[in-house]
Amino acid sequence: MKNPSSKRAKKTALSLLVLLLLWALVVVLSSTIGPADISFGQCISVLCSRMPWVSAENVPEVHETIIFRVRLPRILMASLVGASLAVAGAVFQGLLRNPLAEPYILGVSSGAAVGATVAMVVGLATVAGGFGFVFVPALAFLGALVAMVAAYQLAKIGRTVPVHTLILAGVVVNAFFSAVVMFIVSRAGPQLHGIMFWLMGNLEPVAGTAMLARFVVPLVVVGFILIALYCRDLNVLAFGEESAVQLGMNAGAVKRVLFVSASLITGVVVAMSGMIGFVGLVVPHSVRMIVGADHRSLIPTAAIAGASFLIVADTVARVASVPVGAVTALIGCPFFAYLLRTRKRVMNV
């Protein structure tokens, strides 16, 4: 009898290819939308002009600048953030076996918020000739790491980190760091505006595309690779930690790797773009209801779905001048509600 998993793998690969096409389409379409007055046709010709086998027509430089250096970096940022949040959300849901789990549950986001707020209040954002915007994400990332370690250490019992204590530790860390942010905000003067702006979430790569390429992308890629290697383990963990050990898993090490990689990618994207909610909770659930719970297909699908979703949300946000976090909730909620009603159970807990 033929192994159904190979057929399954082929089917997954095919649907992923289709999704990738969809994502590419979303990228192209989104790059044609913006307040600058560039028509659809002009936009396409700009995009084509970059391809080496297409003859470079006379494309006005300002259009090139806007499309390639204003819009596309932002779209790439949205892709990275969306994919990271969706993947991290899926990992935490599997790791914690809790449907309410999402990337911010363990306090990583509020740790990042503390780092960013401190950087702005102390004035680091205006150092180095006024454009030390690098410091804000750098300190935010540091804050995220601190929160991650704090939650982990807090949750340790003996040598193990049980899942339920991890959730509680995350709640504590979240609450504490959120309170710190509140305190700083109340004392902030002119920086208040910048802080609120950061907290609401923003996909503009303010720290510069160089930072994006040299720092964010590699870290995210490393995180993704690690998670990809541990997808099968996530499947087995679904049977409970005891069963996982009895099936031969080194549960402690696996949990550590998954925790660190998911926190890492969350920390990086929150440091860059503030707190954009809803993506990390709802995208994994929606994808799971459509493609099933096997993490080897769930995680890559969630990545692409998250990327596309956030690009769409950001485009709407740009056009309507609304914070992107509000848009993700406004379009995501009805869709998720629809799925809940028409599909089977979200998770068996």
């Binding site: 806007i66 250096r69 998670i227």
Partner: protein
């Protein structure tokens, strides 16, 4: 185009899938796609606009310590703050102004200029679409400025908190726009104006002034805000100056305790009748300013809060209200 990319992706993906040690095939494909597309579009062209063979003619440092060097005066300038727009017109550089904010309303001609968003949220794309050589901001360290620099646009960011700093800003703008003469003229006349008010101030006790920026919550402006310097220059003592810096929420107790002689209402929301509201406050009846009726809401808040030329003229009006005996005869 996209098909070509995906064909490449497919080939790479197959490579990943067929080799004996492999990741989940889907993830490998995604990663490859990401990297390929990122490489295509994410190339960083951080060119250095400022390398030049000869020594640059124009060198200006802004209030954050950032230094720009230009070979010639910029031909296209975008302003992302209303006071910058006002100054551009005042020094005669308005011809080169190609973009302003939604709230740049003075002088009236400014409203004819193309818009690039508002002061709080300037739109990066709109700014770039104007193809500026220089962007000037004031009072904001908006992340957009960082992105502009990233894109190779020169940016100046000022933050004048006193009249003296404002005068320096006007001079620097004169330098960068090569309108030094008109700028110098302007600063000189403003300085003279300030001096004449200063010299006429009475010696002895200064009036205590409370600046009410908003009523609910009760907000005021402390040390380090521009309006604070206006008040101080006009001979008043801002009661909030010793409490905190910049704009902040203040409790009524502080006001009752300090017992100001003058209350200046500078609500951004121009529809509210501030004077009536303040005079009707039950708990404030004991405050000297309320008792004596010296509550003023008739000065346009833009003139108080926006660090610009008109604000300097406002010093005189403030002095008239603070010391009517001294300046009263000269008032309108």
């Amino acid at each position: 185009m996209t098909d070509a990319i995906l064909k490449v992706v497919g080939i790479l993906g197959d490579f990943f899938v067929r080799s004996p040690t492999r990741f989940a095939p889907g993830t490998a494909r995604c990663l490859t796609a990401f990297l390929v597309l990122a490489a295509c579009f994410g190339c960083d062209r951080s060119g250095d606009d400022r390398t030049s063979v000869e020594a640059p003619r124009i060198v200006v440092t802004d209030d954050t310590g950032y230094r720009i060097e230009l070979r010639e005066a910029p031909a296209r300038v975008v302003s992302i703050a209303p006071n910058v727009t006002e100054i551009m017109f005042a020094i005669g550089a308005d011809k080169k102004l190609v973009g302003v904010t939604d709230i740049c309303d003075f002088p009236p001609e400014a409203t004819q200029k193309p818009k690039i968003g508002n002061f709080v949220n300037p739109d990066l794309e709109k700014i770039v679409a104007r193809e500026p050589d220089l962007v000037i901001g004031s009072g904001t360290f908006h992340p957009v400025l960082g992105r502009l620099r990233d894109l190779g646009v020169s940016v100046l960011s000022f933050n004048p908190t006193t009249i003296d700093e404002l005068l320096v800003m006007i001079e620097k703008m004169g330098v960068v726009m090569e309108c030094e003469a008109p700028a110098r003229e302007l600063t000189t006349s403003l300085t003279t104006e300030i001096e004449s008010v200063r010299s006429d101030l009475p010696t002895g006790d200064r009036v205590k002034v409370f600046v009410e920026i908003w009523h609910d919550p009760l907000m005021t402006a402390g040390a380090g805000s521009f309006v604070n310097d206006l008040v101080e220059t006009a001979g008043g003592d801002n009661i909030a100056a010793s409490i905190r810096n910049h704009y902040f929420e203040i409790s009524q107790e502080h006001v009752l305790d300090a017992n100001p002689d003058i209350i200046l209402a500078a609500y951004m929301e121009k529809d509210v009748s501030a004077r009536e509201m303040i005079l009707n406050r039950e708990t404030w009846r004991t405050v000297s300013a309320v008792a004596s009726g010296r509550v003023y809401d008739d000065i346009d808040p833009d003139l108080l809060l926006r660090p610009s030329v008109r604000a300097v003229h406002t010093v005189k009006e403030l002095a008239e209200r603070f010391y009517p005996e001294r300046f009263g005869e000269q008032s309108k």
